[in-house]
Each structure stands twice: as structure tokens, then as C-alpha cells.
Subunit: 203 residues, 4 copies
Amino acid sequence: MTAPRSAVAGELGTSKAAARIRAAAIEVFAAKGYGATTTREIAASLDLSPGAVYPHYKTKESLLYAISLEGHHAVLTAIRNSDRTDSPAGKRLTATVTAYVAWHARNHALARVVQYELRSLSDEHFGIIADLRRSTSKVFTRIIEAGAAAGDFHPIDTEAAALAITSLGVDVSRWFPSNAYSDPDVVAERYVELALRMVGSAS
Amino acid sequence: MTAPRSAVAGELGTSKAAARIRAAAIEVFAAKGYGATTTREIAASLDLSPGAVYPHYKTKESLLYAISLEGHHAVLTAIRNSDRTDSPAGKRLTATVTAYVAWHARNHALARVVQYELRSLSDEHFGIIADLRRSTSKVFTRIIEAGAAAGDFHPIDTEAAALAITSLGVDVSRWFPSNAYSDPDVVAERYVELALRMVGSAS
Amino acid sequence: MTAPRSAVAGELGTSKAAARIRAAAIEVFAAKGYGATTTREIAASLDLSPGAVYPHYKTKESLLYAISLEGHHAVLTAIRNSDRTDSPAGKRLTATVTAYVAWHARNHALARVVQYELRSLSDEHFGIIADLRRSTSKVFTRIIEAGAAAGDFHPIDTEAAALAITSLGVDVSRWFPSNAYSDPDVVAERYVELALRMVGSAS
Amino acid sequence: MTAPRSAVAGELGTSKAAARIRAAAIEVFAAKGYGATTTREIAASLDLSPGAVYPHYKTKESLLYAISLEGHHAVLTAIRNSDRTDSPAGKRLTATVTAYVAWHARNHALARVVQYELRSLSDEHFGIIADLRRSTSKVFTRIIEAGAAAGDFHPIDTEAAALAITSLGVDVSRWFPSNAYSDPDVVAERYVELALRMVGSAS
DNA sequence: GATGAATGAGACTTCATTCAT
DNA sequence: AATGAATGAAGTCTCATTCAT
């Protein structure tokens, strides 16, 4: 486990009640945006009184932070766990893009909060999250570089390709599900093909 | 001009003051999100009193709508104007992706509002905007189809490719400018190359 | 002891824990005022949980009442115990003013609660306390009257003098300790001199 | 006028509405204490909506500060205006104590706020107020010193006498009006006599 | 006896909007 | 058109108190 439980514990909510509140908040934040969500709505969606959130999260922002931290850990864990670093780059890119895209589709509500509500974090919390995001990007960049070095990939611009792959994944959380795509695995499969083409994969 | 002046006029704000308010609102909406922005902030950023917005826009939502409508018209106009429908598909895709991506980079504040604040529109306004968005997507779909028919492109899945190209453009407004990319034309150029690869362009 | 133990017992808190809570409450009430003090603060200052006060005091007001009652009994006891009713008035005034002033200085936190938070008592509790206060005032009035009758004192207005002496004592709890005076006995000594002059003591 | 209007203006409320709010707040603060008073009560006592206070005072504390500042200026002005610095000390003490005591009786609600709610001010505001209070005390100290130097007064301890005189005045706001005393001028007259005795006035 | 989550009420404050000026 | 006080509703958060554990 990349993110040790202990790091997320304490004020971030380990109790069952805290987890339920987080889950409820994810749905509402995703639907209306953090700024337009009231703590009352979150409580009401669990049939709780308005103040019941506060024994678990001292502020609305700390709730967002807990969600954001958990979410970012989850994505990073997902792609790191899927990456077989001793396989050829093509396999690695396939595995990680699949994991990344499928995660954003499957957890689209959480993903939306994770990807689009960062600006509402406090400066301190934002800094911690920003570090996690850099770690995530780096995974793709490293794989493309490895593929290019091995002659498996022929990217025109490694950085642009890595950015585009990330963008594709992030943006899934904005529109998923759509009329055309409502199966996370299908989206992942299509996007893997596009990713391989973007990096100029030989296969 | 695709959108006739008259359609945008009236309550949508043709006066100079209305335009200034729109411009100010774009910046604040982009920075904090519609839900977290107060009408007071918009007024204050123009050194106006809280009530000064209301002679021009009856509600905060109508201000968002005016911005959204103007923005969506602008993107659609930008790609339509750049599209030479009698050229080969490769040239067309190059021209339209360039226009689309560069527009999102150059107008990143407006683009962010346009792309991420839709959910705050009234149902009626949302419907009107949704039509414009479909028109925009269709431009890319048609070009890819034309390229495939002509044998210039070899997409694995036309719809997925069109979606991905749109996603790439939309997502530019989320991160632009970054340390690596702060020139709209450079981003556009890189993304055109990626788009051509995604559609399996022969060239 | 004027107040029989039994009258103060029961709901007023005889246990050690109740006494600790009262002591903690006195400090916080004195520092911030009853209205601005939360029961949580009192509990927290003893490292107890928010609910821990309630097994001992059913309401915040009953805690104030217990403190107020104990405090008023204490002052009354202090001056009564110091008063030698068979001595000359000068000695009696000296003894009682010393006791009164020193008590307010020494117990300035409790005194502040006792003197300034009466309005937050329930009507019933206020009535009980008001009786105690009248008994206290009467001590000074009686002494001055006795002194005047004996020709030891020459007050211009007995009631005003008694009131002023009380005021001086009460007000000590507002400012004590100050830069100039931080020894209760010194304050008491000075104020006795002033009191004797106010009543026109011959000596 | 010692306190120039301009110094109190601006955020402190010069408008008629601000003055009405201040007047209403004084009554409620005096009756229940600042900590126990709600901004709603203040607004309600003027038949205003809860939010109507806020265009005039940004916070409850700033309202307290405005009241406190105005009140402290008023006391200081009252005693300074009554002091004829070229008269003998006896006359000066008579005039200033009269002014001080009568002010506390006549404005007992304001005086109570001024004297007993200081602890609720912000540190910055408290500092400003504390300066004003020192200026007030100094008036009495100087007069007693002058009287002592001229041989008019024979105080045992100048500082204690000045402190006691201040205490007497302050404490008036706690109990005034009482059954015995409800005329400010009568209280003032009695207290002047006591003050003169306390300083050992020859007359 | 103590804990701490939960409640119901309510606190301070803000907000979109209105309206007299 | 603009101002700014005012409103009514609501927002975040706190609080005295309760209660299951």
C-alpha cells in the first residue's frame, strides 16, 4: 500500500461515520461543485442534522481535503499497482492508462472532486496535494521515456504526450458516463489505443 | 458572424458597461468557480457598488448565461472560420484543432467558465448551450469521417477520436498556462500532431 | 459556618469532581464572562470531554448558581467572622473592611463572578443570592450606625458611606491585581484608611 | 471638543442609522452583557432584519469598539471640560468628581458597557481604549498631587485615593439606579464629599 | 462517571437581490 | 445608471444538552 493508513488517519476521518460523510460529500460536490454545495445538503443527504458533520470534520474545507487526499492516493496507487516496471513500455503504458482511465470512469464523482475542486483547498493543503499530482504525472512521463529509449515508442514530444494522456484521463471524469460510453472498461480500451498512437508505439 | 448580433442583444448586454461586467465576471468565475463567486466581488473588481450589476444583468445566472453564450459562439465561430471544407481532411483537422486548442489557451479564463460552469445554468439556458456544444463536436466528427472515407485517416473508433480531440482542447483551459507551455501556438502545434496520430493520419 | 452544609449539598456539588469543575468554571467565567464561556471550555480546561460536566451540574446556570452561592457565603462568612461586635466601631470597621477587601483581592476570580454575573442567574436563584447580598451590606451599615451613635464616626450620609465602602470592595475584583497593587493585604490596609476617613472616624 | 468628530468617523459609524444601532446595542449590551447579546436582538429592537446591522458595522466586535471608543471619549471629555486647571485643587476635585460620577449615573447603560465589556475587544482595539483610560485616571491623580503640593489635601496614599475615586465612579454604573439613589446629581454630591474626605481635604 | 457523536436551536455573517435616492 | 441600505434567506459553524456505550 503506497499510502499508509496512518498518514490519512486522525483528523481525516477513520470512523465509519466520517466515511459515510465523505461518501455523501463526494456525490454533492461532484454534482454542484464545492462552492455551491452547502454543508446542510451533505448532512441532509444522510438524514443528519446540519451540525452532525462537525464532530468529524472541523470545516467544510477539511472535508474537501480529506476527500482530495484519499482520492489522489487512490489514483496514484491504482496506476502504480498496475505498472509492471520490468515489462516492455507498450505493456506498461497499456496497463497504466487502462488503470488511470478506468479509475476516472468508475469513480467519476470522486474524480471530479479530485480534479476540479483543488482551488478551494487551503494553501497548505493544496501544496500537499500538488506533490501527489506531480508523482502521478511522472509515472506516465517515465514510461514514455523508457519506451523511447528502448525504441518501442517514437513520441514527437514526450512531455506533450504525457500531458495529453493525463488530460484524457482527467477529462473522462467531466463527461462520463455519456450516451456513447458508459462502460469504464470500454473507454479505457479505446483510450489505450489512442495513447499508444500518440506516443508512436511500434506495435 | 455565425451568431447574429440581434440574438445576443437585449438582456444579454450590448452596452459597454455590460461588456466590462462580463469581462470582470469571467476572471472571477474562472478563478473561484461560479458557485463560490459573489456578485459583490464582480462589482468590487470594477470599483462598483454591489447593486451596480443589476441594471445590466437581472440575475447572477443571466450573467453566466451571457458569458457562456458568447463564449460558445466564439469557439464555434473560431473552428468554423478556420475550416476549409473543400480541403483534404488532414488540412482541415490541422486547421480546426489548431483553432480549437489555441482558442482554449488564449481565452483560458473564458474557456474555463464555458466548459466547467454549465451545471449552474438554468435548464432552459442549458438546453440552448447544449445545442451549440453539439454543433462544435460535430465539426470534428465530420472531418474525421470525411478523412476516413477518403482513406486519409484510419481511426480505430471515430467517435472516440472525436471525443478525445475535444477533451484535449477542453482540458487545456484547466491547466494552461503551465511551466512547460505558455504559448498558445506551441500547444496547438503539439496537439495537432497528436490529433493526427490519433486518427491514424497517413501523412 | 452560617450556611449549613446540607443546604449547599446535593445538586450543588459536594464531590471532588464537582469542586474541580467549579474551580475551573470560576477561572473561565472570570476571564471571559459567563455569557461568553462555553461548557466545552470548562471541560477542556480539565481535559474532560464536553459531556463530562453534566453528571455534576445539570445546566450551565446551575453551575453558576453553585459558584455564586458558595462565593456569597464565603464573603459573608469572612466579614462576619472578622467582626467583634463588642469592640468599638473603629476596630470593627477596620476588621470588616480588611476582610472584605482582602477577600475580593485574594479571590478576585471568584469575586468577579460573584459580583458581575448575577444577571445570568434564574429569577429564583437570583432571589436567594440577593438576600445574601443584603445581609452583607447590612454589616457595614450597622457598624457605621453604631459608630455614629457612639460618637466615634461622623458620617455625612450613612447609606452613602456604606454603599461606597461596598463599591470599593466590589471594584477591587475588577482591577486586581494591578501594577501598583498586587498584595491583598496592602490594598486592604489602604482601603481601611480611606473607609475610616469616609465615615469621619475620630481616630 | 477633545475628541474630534473625524477621529470617530469612517468605519465607526457617522450615519444616523449607525447611531441608532449603537444606541440600541448599548441598551442590550448593558442589560445582558456583550457575550450574551445576539446581533439579532439588537436588530430586532430596532425592527430591522438580522443582516441590517452589517452595512454599518462589519462585526459585533467593531460595534462594541465604536461604542467603547465613543463612550471613553465622552467620559474623558466630560471631566476635562469640567476641570478648571487654574482653580484650587478642592474646586477642581469637586468639579471633576461631580462630572465623573454624574456621567456614570446619567449614562449608566453606556458606562456599564464602557467599564465592563473591555475584555471582548480585539487586542488592537483594547490597546487604543486602554490609552484613553490611562488619560482619565491621570486627571484625578494630577489634581490630588496638586492639592497635596499646595497643602490643600493630605492624602495618605495619592495613588490609592485616585484609584478609589475612579472605582467609586465606575461602580456607580453597576448599581445605578437603586432604591436609595436615582438622581445623578445627588449621587454626585454625596460622592464628592466622600472624595474630599478620602484625600484629606482641609475644607 | 466519563465519552463523544448527535441534536435542535441558534449564533454571526454573507449573499443575491431590491429600491429609494 | 449607479449607490448603498435593507431584506429574507441561507451559509458555516457553535453550543448546551442528551444518550448510548
